[in-house]
Symmetry: C2
Subunit: 323 residues, 2 copies
């Protein structure tokens, strides 16, 4: 159990790989290469068991292909939960395998509840759970995403686990989807928008956990699709890590994500899921790689993403000094 501040650990990993990008692991069964699906079906009687096996094997290939070039992976639990307990088994196997490969694992679970229920989620995903007379790790991710619509007493148990176990959270603030404006952009009577109020809360909640490198592992989700809002949010939450979804498939460009970084070149990690996972099915990668080489296609796509973001950081004069 590594109890160092997670923000420090994540930034060290970003420095080591000279790369602030994250690969999302969003397994869609019908897009997994045929040879993996066939093998899983041959060696499993039940179809949910076979789905679980195919998902894990697909992820294993991706992790093997990208573990030395990215600091973290972000499995989205919905695509595993689809397959019930068997899907959750694949999710947990993926977390363990990625950690073994020294990747930081961000579970994209967007969990939220109150009091003892939030405590149950926190113990499951970030800490230890009671199993009869023992305490055992269950999911044991490094970070999770959470939703703070319920306010502070739904977030506190997660923060407590961040402290105790050296973990981190990303709280939804300004999300990347088109209708995020419906609620998040409403102006309060003070003239602040909801996502600004949320940002102030996140900044306050994260304060006591700021690590050696000046960042708190109590971070925020800020979509790449809203660069102007990101700039404002970077000012409010200057000490908080940002998880930035929306790059690539959702339309966010490398230039769009630059406002999520501080002037020191740190503070954000940018996620891409579909664009990396299924690179073998899209231009230009599909010309060079077949489905048997999906992992190589994904590696190439991850390297291209890194270059794309580094070019933009360079242009924005935000490349970290030590790189």
């Amino acid at each position: 159990m590594n109890q160092d501040n997670l923000a420090d650990r994540l930034l060290e990993a970003v420095d080591e790989k000279k790369n602030p990008s994250v690969v999302g692991l969003d397994p869609r069964l019908w897009r997994i290469p045929e040879h993996i699906r066939e093998k899983a079906r041959e060696s499993n009687d039940g179809s949910f068991e076979a789905a679980s096996e195919a998902i894990f094997e697909f992820n294993k290939g991706l992790i093997d292909a990208i573990h030395d070039i990215v600091p973290a992976v972000k499995p989205q639990v919905a695509f595993y939960e689809k397959y019930g307990s068997h899907g959750i088994e694949a999710f947990i196997r993926t977390i363990r395998y990625a950690k073994k490969k020294d990747l930081i694992v961000i579970e994209d679970v967007k969990r939220n509840d109150i009091g003892s229920t939030a405590e149950a989620y926190a113990s499951a995903h970030l800490g230890e759970v009671d199993v009869f007379d023992e305490e055992s790790f269950s999911f044991d991710g490094d970070m999770i995403t959470v939703n703070a619509y319920l306010g502070h007493d739904g977030i506190e148990p997660f923060i407590d686990h961040c402290k105790k176990y050296g973990k981190g959270i990303f709280i939804l603030d300004k999300t990347s989807n088109p209708s995020s404006s419906e609620l998040q952009d409403l102006k309060t009577e003070d003239g602040k928008r909801i996502f600004e109020v949320m940002a102030e809360l996140i900044s306050e909640w994260g304060e006591e956990l700021v690590g050696k490198r000046g960042y708190s592992p109590v971070g925020a989700v800020v979509g790449a699709t809203y660069p102007e809002e990101a700039e404002m949010l970077r000012d409010i939450m200057d000490n908080n890590l940002f998880l930035v979804p929306g790059y690539g498939s959702q339309g966010g460009t490398a230039d769009d994500v630059i406002p999520c970084f501080n002037d020191d070149g740190y503070g954000a990690v940018v996620n891409s899921s579909r664009g990396i996972d299924y690179a073998y099915q899209r231009e230009p990668y599909c010309e060079e790689y077949g489905s048997e080489e999906y992992d190589k296609a994904s590696r190439k796509a991850a390297l291209d993403m890194k270059e794309d973001i580094l070019d933009s950081l360079e242009r924005g004069d935000k490349i970290p000094d030590s790189w």
Copy 2:
């Protein structure tokens, strides 16, 4: 697959039992009677497997004891997810068993995400999932709770599944916890509080699904601990079902929940979890029932809750005419 409107089905079940209360199934391993825990440990090698078995057996006893007196149960997934894939197995077994006993199952999962990810959650919990060349049911609950901080495009896939599969959702609006005010009570520049804005959205989103009895299965979570707000919300969402947590252990009284009902005596179901599940451990039930009779204690507590709410409905002149 019953594709009738879920709001109609829920109200028929409420009429049949003459009871608008719901039993939450929140298994806490250390509070499960010793004889169930011991038996589960004896017949399972792994401790997570034993935890899963103990949880299911405990729930089975509760369901057997209350299925003829309440219309619905509400398992809270956090207490199952704690135990990873084994916990999810117990959760799904609980859903199946409760449905076999003709109970409506409200999965308390508070899921939320966008686009194809919300679609994955919706297919898992309310619809069918793709497993290679087939479509299969996965969790197959009747209703789930969801969080709409992300706006309409995070809710639409759930509503689509409500239409297609005859299911329902409860969207978090004004939650029962103390710090729900932090975000939900903020006043917008129009003078409306966030929970009122959310209520207007819920009312609008639910409109096209209103069933024969005048209610939509696109409902709202409104805490028993805020009766004044509930009264206002009942006016805004006159056609939407309310799920009302916070009665009992959280401090809400039967009188507090009455504003959640319309004048016709319908429109809300009131949940109690800990107060029913562990009745055998509290006054007055612990005097009459030992841990071997936890199920009888829970039945008695559920009947007392029913009486308590019916008395208050009576006093508020809100008992349905046909009762």
